[in-house]
């Protein structure tokens, strides 16, 4: 019975996922390796040989590579602030959590309104007399500004997810360990790196995995700000599935997204492994 218990606990979730994820997933995965009913790698070849694929692939990694570390740092900062605060913490937490409630579509909209040629940023600069005429930020010629805008929007939108997980995790770290570190000469920063971070590993793991995975699926914000000029894997998937109506290639894209997500998850799990003995 006790040996069966973990399985019993996992059973409902597993069944659920098998029905609502695994079944359709196998369908789609099957699509990716078949074409006209025959097993083939043609879809993958087609995907890989499409001229946008490398760009989309590297853009996706680049974006995740920039956004996730920034978000991690910001989420940790915000979580530390919120945890440290005595007064007004729930208000602050609420404010920090606000972007959580905003869909990526709406977030794209907001940031587009900022970066557009006649947007708020230009209005402000113009109002301050810094510029005489609006600057075109999101032009296909300066991809890096587009990248910057996307990074800002993504950081703004999706940091809260990590932050909330980390806040919850930090709340569970017994205060006494921080105090012990303090007494033993750890500066604020050392306390953070030597005590808080290691003890936060499980939450960090979760936050990072979820965030990285979502970063690989980034889509709406990129499309809103980058238009066609910043292809990412997910937008290509969309394109193939719906515009070009080629489900096989779209499925191949999806498998690539899945592949890199799993690869990165493995890395994160390895990096943030907590030995069994060292758990609380």
């Amino acid at each position: 019975m006790p040996r069966a218990l973990p399985y019993l606990l996992l059973l409902p979730a597993t069944l659920f996922l098998v029905v609502f994820f695994l079944y359709p997933f196998v369908n789609v995965a099957w699509d990716s390796v078949t074409r006209g009913g025959e097993m083939t790698l043609a879809n993958y070849q087609r995907m890989a040989s499409h001229w946008k694929f490398p760009t989309a692939f590297w853009n996706t990694l680049l974006l995740a590579g920039i956004v996730v570390p920034i978000q991690l740092a910001m989420a940790l900062t915000m979580a530390s602030i919120v945890t440290k605060l005595q007064k007004g913490r729930s208000t602050l937490l609420y404010i920090f959590a606000i972007p959580l409630g905003i869909s990526d579509l709406a977030a794209g909209l907001i940031w587009l309104a900022i970066f557009e040629q006649s947007g708020f940023l230009n209005s402000m600069l113009y109002g301050l007399g810094v510029i005489e005429r609006p600057i075109l930020f999101l032009s296909y010629q300066n991809t890096w500004v587009i990248l910057l805008a996307i990074v800002l929007a993504e950081v703004w939108r999706a940091t809260a997810i990590m932050m909330v997980i980390l806040v919850a995790g930090m709340g569970l770290i017994p205060k006494e360990y921080g105090e012990a570190a303090e007494v033993f000469g750890a500066s604020r920063w050392q306390r953070f790196t030597r005590v808080t971070l290691p003890m936060l590993k499980p939450s960090l793991q979760t936050a990072l995995i979820l965030r990285v995975i979502l970063a690989f699926e980034v889509f709406a914000v990129v499309v809103a700000l980058g238009g066609t000029q910043f292809p990412v894997l997910m937008s290509e998937t969309y394109q193939w599935q719906f515009t070009m109506q080629d489900r096989g290639v779209a499925a191949a894209y999806a498998m690539v997204i899945l592949g890199i997500s799993v690869a990165f998850t493995l890395v994160i799990l390895r990096l943030l492994h907590v030995p069994k003995e060292a758990r609380i």
Partner: protein, 396 residues
């Protein structure tokens, strides 16, 4: 309620107007749903695969519907006598069944801010512009204001491919497919590259030109009429609409055709037919025009109180289609679900040549091969303005 599953009139205001002004009169009520292509298509495919469904009537552009061939019901029973043959032919999707019936039509137009008119090159007639004049004009605006103010919907939702398929290439090559990599095509792309140098780089973010027109970021624009309408309706006095420019082969333009179809899985075929019929009534067609800026597919008498956009567009369209050098380019036919990939070829060509700056000839050669393979795969004969062909439309 009958479910009307459509890719058209999705902007909320249009949806609202469809429901309240167009469809309210249908007995039994209609649930009008304007969808993005993604969910629209997914739902349809799901119903087809499942073999049962809830959708009564499909509404979509020719391109949307052309991939659905086998799942659609033959609508020959519907009285389509007032509709032009060319349009009906498109609706057969290369079969001998009426798989969709034309619903409404539109085209693409040019629009300009009145401020821009002062920079119109001398001797140029707004109603009979050539591409060269357009470029000169855009250049003049660019020079005068220091800004690139020609606008072009090259964003993800933009209809840029139609511009190449139906306007630019036919105007220079007299063809959409066959002459894809001809010298004339190279010239056309050269012309476009020049125009692009006066086109606002933000164009790659534009799906609809009405907004940049309204904000003033763009002074001269090309887009689908429905996607220009808001600018004219909001500030009727600030903008003018005029025909697409002409090239050496003529003033090429492409109509836009939306159709109505019924799936084999429709829950109540009779009701669906009734709804299709209802949509083809002249009053409904006029109401649809008001709601969506799509024009009727049959001759109707227009009332005087049409919205500003319609009042501005109707004469421009008439001028364009009635021009002596008018060169209609039809929507792709017989491509079925490969329509998306067909369009993608034009988009890719644009992105590679113009945005990525790759060599024109090489790109055209490469894309031509893709195009040829596609035509073979689809086994689609040529359509206007290309010469009719036996077998798949050739790419020279």
């Amino acid at each position: 309620e009958a479910l009307f599953w459509s890719t058209q009139a999705k902007p909320v205001e249009e949806t609202q107007a469809m429901r309240e002004q167009v469809l309210a009169g249908f007995e039994g009520g209609v649930d009008y749903q304007g969808m993005d292509e993604g969910p629209w298509l997914t739902r349809i495919q799901a119903e087809m695969q499942a073999g049962s469904g809830t959708i009564a009537v499909l509404g979509g552009l020719h391109g949307d519907l052309s991939g659905l061939g086998e799942g659609l019901m033959d609508l020959s029973a519907i009285d389509t006598s007032v509709i032009g043959d060319a349009m009906l032919e498109l609706g057969r999707l290369g079969t001998d069944q009426q798989l969709y019936v034309p619903w409404m039509q539109a085209t693409y137009l040019m629009a300009a801010n009145r401020e821009a008119l002062q920079y119109l090159p001398e001797g140029a007639d707004l109603n009979a512009l050539t591409y060269d004049q357009l470029i000169a004009w855009a250049a003049a605006v660019h020079e005068a204001t220091g800004e690139r103010r020609f606008g072009f919907p090259a964003g993800p939702q933009g209809l840029r491919h139609r511009f190449f398929q139906g306007f630019l290439l036919p105007a220079y090559t007299g063809s959409t497919v066959t002459e894809f990599r001809s010298e004339a095509a190279v010239e056309a792309w050269g012309v476009f590259a020049e125009l692009w140098s006066h086109t606002t780089p933000a164009s790659t973010n534009y799906s609809f030109m009405q907004e940049p027109l309204l904000t003033g970021d763009v002074w001269i624009a090309f887009d689908h009429v429905a996607r220009l309408a808001d600018a004219f309706n909001q500030r009727p006095d600030d903008f003018v609409a005029f025909p697409a420019p002409a090239g050496p082969e003529g003033r090429a333009y492409m109509p836009v055709l939306a159709g109505l179809a019924v799936m084999n899985t429709a829950p109540d075929a009779e009701q669906s037919m009734a709804l299709v019929n209802y949509m083809l009534q002249p009053e409904t067609q006029i109401a649809t025009l008001r709601a969506t800026n799509f024009f009727p597919v049959m001759p109707v008498d227009m009332p005087d109180d049409m919205p500003a956009s319609v009042q501005a567009f109707a004469p421009a369209i008439a001028t364009m289609t009635g021009a002596s050098d008018a060169l209609p380019a039809l929507l792709p036919m017989g491509l079925g679900e490969l329509g998306g990939q067909f369009s993608q070829i034009y988009t890719d060509t644009f992105e590679q040549i113009i945005l990525a700056g790759r060599p024109v000839e090489a790109t055209l050669d490469a894309q031509a091969e893709v195009l040829r393979a596609l035509m073979v795969q689809a086994n689609a004969p040529c359509w206007a303005p290309d010469e009719p062909s036996d077998g798949p439309c050739p790419v020279n």
